[in-house]
Assembly symmetry: C2
Homo-oligomer: 129 residues x 2
């Protein structure tokens, strides 16, 4: 049986829309996703789920309610704790890897025109069952 590596760069090259995560792997009950960000998403929270951001390219600012912003450059990661209202902001294009629970909703407790349901994030990637 052949098993192959997943290249983060190759997966990112398949992404054209900003703020549209692409599922590239599943580890236990977590999806690993790649995404391209530009501008800002929306203030939201995931009441029961942490969300990990790892920057691959560019600089990401994560605004956090009642806390200082977190600034992330390439090779830096941050876990937004469950329940903490946050808003990712990319002044220039940023490429990221996300790790979040398979049930995590894109924009958490908020639904906006840019909300991407997980089914579409899976279609964009389609690797894991």
């Amino acid at each position: 049986m052949t098993a192959t590596a997943t290249s983060i760069a190759d997966e990112l090259s398949q992404v054209s829309d900003h703020w549209s995560p692409r599922v590239v792997a599943r580890v236990n009950d977590q999806y690993v996703k790649v995404a391209k960000l530009l501008g800002e998403l929306v203030w939201h929270a995931h009441p029961d789920e942490d969300e990990m951001f790892l920057v691959v390219k560019g600089r990401l600012r994560i605004q956090l309610e009642d806390r200082d912003d977190v600034l992330l450059g390439p090779g830096e990661l941050f876990v937004v704790p469950r329940g903490v209202r946050h808003n990712p902001v990319a002044e220039d294009e940023v490429h990221i890897v996300l790790v979040e629970t398979v049930t995590t909703a894109h924009t958490g407790d908020v639904v906006v025109p840019g909300t991407v349901p997980v089914e579409r994030q899976l279609q964009a990637g389609g690797r894991p069952a």
Copy 2:
């Protein structure tokens, strides 16, 4: 309140021993770890837990029972599925990020002199509660 980014490179610079993972973050029920590898660990399996390897530097070969080896370079990831016996091999030094369940034992169903209990992996990092 101040929240800060975690630099993978900075965390790796704190690691001196090979095959001794350092916990740097927790996202939901998964630990994110960094490790330096050289040589080979031991054939083992985690019956109920997947294990994600992401290479940051160097080239890693993961031997898998009854399957072809998987070769990983920088920016490439692979999830060893639960129950699959595997053995990571690093001919030259490799730097990796691991994502695995908080309960995952270092060498799975096998205990060898190099087995590092999770308590020591936490002491090595000490970030997440």
